[in-house]
Symmetry: C2
Subunit: 195 residues, 2 copies
């Protein structure tokens, strides 16, 4: 049984999508298990005083080119979503509702691809339902679960817990107490798995 | 004759120090010439709305561990300066005064090492003078040149020019018009040299 890497994700982060696409290959190479943990990046920004890179226009312009270079380096299909920034509140609540249940992995794959590969407008719940049905999931049931008090409370609690652990952005990885930030730190994640 | 990589630096950035220490090996491997260009990071922050990572405490804590991991990965002697953040205004003006003259490279090496290897308090001009004399440079003359109107005007102009070119942090690299940000992007810099 390999080590567990906690992968704290929010669908709204393109860097998190790039990491998500590299995880299967790293898991296969190292035997590590990646435990996907939803949190709300906007909530973490608010609590920590951090902000999206695009809040600095010059940084946003550089980031766009930089993400493209990372995508090409690893052969990851990627294009910037025309609706960026995305409000991921419902999408992340749905992830909480599905976590630990059948369909979670398929849901995560479908939402990441819809946003960062296919350019879908996932701010629109009708589009979300369509995307989920196309992935073989019950879109209506998932959206209902997303709007449940339980899913809302889970996302709030997981976001607060992330802040307590020192999270300030996405993606964030934990190997035990060791925290890594950024899709560009997957080499350090692999080092920590091997250590 | 290899390609030219413009290296925009401010001594106050620990990530820029880490890049500086890797440049000789990259220059030797690729034949590229690294053209060191002073600018004032604080001025760029002010003009772009960017801020030091340490302005977000959780990011600052992560960054400290992250810089240590990069230093160990490349065998770079490094410790966080106890006087961080450093006011580099005089140090950068001196770099402008020396640029293109004998002693520039030695000055750059001496100041980077004093801050990020030896933990010196380079906010204190007496310490700066001592460090420069120890490196075989005329500390008094260099500080006088730093206080000249010409050096002040050069640093101001170079900082404004950096902002115009899209710079928002340090270190920044240009290969022609292609801009890379961060010591963690030296692989992309090498790709651009090879392209």
């Amino acid at each position: 049984m390999g080590k567990t890497v906690e992968f704290l994700f929010d669908f709204g982060s393109p860097a998190t999508y790039l990491a998500h696409k590299r995880i299967p290959e790293i898991a296969a190479r190292t035997g590590a298990v990646f435990d996907y943990q939803p949190f709300l990046l906007g909530g973490v920004f608010k609590a920590t005083g951090n902000a999206s890179p695009i809040s600095v226009p010059a940084k946003g312009r550089w980031m766009l080119g930089d993400l493209g270079r990372w995508a090409r380096k690893h052969g990851t299909p990627f294009r910037m979503n025309p609706n960026f920034p995305i409000n991921t509140l419902t999408l992340m609540r749905a992830a909480e509702a599905l976590k630990g249940k059948p369909g979670f992995d398929r849901y995560v794959d479908a939402v990441f691809d819809a946003i960062w590969k296919d350019g879908e407008n996932m701010n629109d719940e009708a589009v979300v339902a369509e995307v989920l049905y196309a992935a073989g999931l019950d879109g209506k049931a998932i959206l209902e679960a997303a709007h449940s008090d339980e899913a809302k409370a889970k996302l709030k609690a997981d976001t607060e817990r992330a802040v307590e652990r020192g999270v300030f952005g996405a993606p964030t990885f934990f190997i035990g107490d060791e925290m890594h930030f950024g899709q560009d730190r997957l080499d350090f994640v692999e080092d920590a798995i091997a250590a």
